[in-house]
């Protein structure tokens, strides 16, 4: 025993490196953090800054060249009624999608977190994650077929004798249209479908962290189930709801593919950025439009903070 302990360990490069890092925890920390911080600073913040700078330039109407002098002209143009319409439409859609996602996701997340065990839990995880494994475009086009006038939804509604209900829905001004696939209802449906996993998972994670004993304690103290839900479960799940809503809200704000494939021809923010940048070559305008979601999200987050969404973090 004693001789084995005294025998010097043969130095190996891996072991030496481990020892060096063990004795200098700050060096280890620096090595671990430097690459991601560089990435964040250069690629992410750098791009963001470039975007901001671009938005303060303007475009020469005649030559189509970018004038690299500081001006607020682009922002003035951003506030034209037609543009404000687009911003409002997109924000309203994002809010509606977020609200619907919470309503659909909560029961699923609740079941996953509090009831499902073993195989059922795995199946649910897979079911939630599975859509993320296939192409987003394919799924959106699949929905176009599903929601088309000749599609399965129209057919099913007719078979079930609910054809008139569907027609009534489509005849509602603004949100309706000639078919689901060319209406706001269709755009909304597909948005909710596509972003749902991003809402389910954070809520599920938040609910998972609520110990069973806390729910039992609420009942023990005399709270019937609906009181327990309102006073205990919901406040504790709220950070998860907010986290999920940040995803659904910001993703809807920026998306340009879904409204292009499914919906009326009226534009959403993302589409405008796409057109301004790609087709019109008006990069300052595109940049100014990109600043809008950033501002909207900042407002959204500060409201969420007011509501105490981050208190339990």
């Amino acid at each position: 025993m004693a001789s084995a302990m005294q025998a010097p360990l043969r130095p190996r490069p891996g072991r030496m490196l481990s020892t060096v890092l063990l004795l200098r925890p700050k060096l280890l920390l620096a090595l671990l953090l430097l690459p991601p911080l560089l990435w964040l600073a250069v690629v992410y913040l750098g791009a963001m800054f470039a975007l901001l700078v671009q938005s303060f330039f303007s475009i020469d109407e005649f030559t189509g060249l970018i004038e690299r002098t500081f001006t607020l002209r682009t922002y003035a143009e951003l506030l034209r009624p037609a543009h404000l319409d687009i911003i409002l439409r997109t924000a309203a859609m994002a809010a509606a999608v977020t609200l619907a996602s919470v309503l659909v996701a909560f029961p699923i997340a609740y079941y996953m977190a509090r009831y499902a065990t073993g195989r059922a839990k795995t199946v649910f995880y897979l079911a939630v994650m599975l859509p993320l494994w296939s192409s987003y475009l394919v799924r959106v086009y699949a929905w176009k077929l599903i929601l088309a006038k000749e599609g399965i939804v129209t057919w099913l509604a007719a078979e079930l004798g609910a054809g008139s209900w569907l027609d009534a829905l489509l005849s509602v001004p603004v949100i309706g249209g000639t078919a689901l696939s060319v209406s706001y209802v269709g755009t909304f449906t597909v948005f909710v479908y596509i972003w749902l996993p991003f809402m389910i998972l954070p809520i599920q994670a938040a609910l998972e962290r609520v110990p069973q004993s806390i729910i039992e304690a609420s009942a023990d103290l005399g709270a019937p189930p609906h009181r327990t839900f309102r006073n205990v479960i919901l406040p504790l799940a709220f950070p998860g709801v907010v986290a999920g809503s940040i995803f659904t809200f910001s993703l809807t704000l920026g998306d340009y593919i879904i409204p292009q494939i499914i919906g009326s021809s009226r534009l959403f923010l993302g589409q405008v950025v796409y057109i301004q940048q790609g087709t019109a070559g008006n990069i300052p305008m595109a940049a100014a439009f990109c600043v809008v979601p950033i501002i909207v999200m900042s407002i959204y987050l500060s409201v969420a903070k007011r509501l105490g969404a981050f208190d339990a973090l």
């Binding site: 004993s213 609420s218 023990d220």
Partner: protein, 345 residues
């Protein structure tokens, strides 16, 4: 004295696992009742049935003489202090304590008075605005107690409430809980795996093992007259003495429990009356415990026996015995307590 809780042939099964295996138990109104057992013995299951979180697979539970099966937890006049305290992390201490009153619709003013009164009782005045995460373990424990007691339940359930506290605090809380229970006159049902705690706090206690009750009685009864081998070994220390050899009279044969402090240790052959029994052995180990010294003695038949000698007076009076010394162990036959042998399941 009427009964607060009564179990009638209660079974609780989870799939093929039997958590409670036919429990019959009566807990009287106003007593401090201990439920003692190792983990997995069914003691927490018992508490959950009383609180209403689980329902018995079979059998019946009565609360104050009325069948409780159909009564949900929120309609039971029972409150629980949870093992992990289960305080609401998103509420202040005051809101935590007021929760039960709030859901019952007690008006704000009375709520305030009762919460303040309760916080004063558990000596947490001035901490009402804090969050549970800002309190120490002992303070959280008292919040949990206040949150349960503010509802003035007829029965208070405590699930290992002192388990997470350090020794000094635990001893202090043991005393406080006893005083509180006497002052309020509420039935306390207290689950613990700590036999010292169960003995010192309970008016009566039940010893649980593998979903069954081994023995119910006062701490003195259970300590002095354990009825099963499990009870003898789980509650305090016990020497298990088997007397089967032909030299022993037939009515004195059997398995007995002998408490180590009733064993007398001496370096010379003792001279006792006719009821004394003595054996010779060799000291295998000496453990100094401060207030007492434990001697583990190997006997000629290969068994070993423990003797505990109080640390009285000067060291000179205690036999200076080292491991390897030959000693005599002796005891009175009246200190042997016959154990039922049917518990060899």
């Amino acid at each position: 004295m009427d009964s607060a809780v009564r179990f009638r042939k209660v079974f609780l099964r989870y799939g093929s696992v039997v958590a409670l295996d036919g429990i019959d138990l009566e807990i009287r109104s106003g007593e401090f009742f201990g439920i003692l057992g190792p983990s997995g013995s069914g003691k927490t299951s018992c508490l959950r049935l009383i609180a209403g979180f689980d329902r018995p697979s079979d059998g019946m539970i009565e609360l104050h003489g009325r069948a409780a099966a159909a009564v949900p937890p929120y309609d039971r006049d029972v409150n629980t202090v949870f093992q992990d305290y289960a305080l609401f992390p998103h509420m202040t201490i005051e809101q935590n304590v007021a929760f039960g009153l709030m859901v019952k619709g007690v008006d704000r003013r009375e709520r305030r008075i009762r919460v303040d009164e309760m916080l004063a009782m558990v000596r947490l005045e001035g901490l009402g605005e804090r969050r549970p995460s800002q309190l120490s373990g002992g303070q959280r424990q008292r919040v949990a107690l206040a949150r349960a007691l503010v509802n003035r339940p007829s029965v208070l359930l405590l699930d290992e409430p002192l388990g997470a506290l350090d020794l000094k605090l635990r001893q202090q809380m043991q005393v406080e809980l006893r005083l509180l229970q006497r002052a309020l006159g509420i039935t306390f049902i207290f689950v613990t795996h700590d036999q010292g705690e169960a003995l010192s706090m309970s008016d009566r206690l039940a010893v649980f093992n593998r979903g069954r009750i081994e023995q119910v009685g006062t701490p003195e009864e259970i300590y002095e007259r354990p009825s099963t081998r499990f009870a003898a070994e789980f509650v305090g220390d016990s020497n298990i003495v088997e007397r089967r050899d032909p030299g022993v009279a037939a009515h004195e044969r059997g398995v007995f429990s002998l408490r180590p402090e009733k064993v007398h240790l001496s370096t010379r052959e003792p001279e006792f009356g006719e009821h004394a029994i003595s054996v010779r052995g060799e000291v295998a180990d000496v453990q100094f415990h401060g207030a007492s010294v434990r001697y583990v003695v190997s006997l000629p038949d290969g068994e070993s026996m423990t003797a505990v000698v109080g640390n009285l007076g000067s060291r000179a009076e205690a036999p200076a015995v080292e491991p390897g010394a030959r000693v005599w162990l002796s005891w009175n036959s009246s200190d042997l307590h016959r154990l039922s042998e049917s518990d060899s399941r």
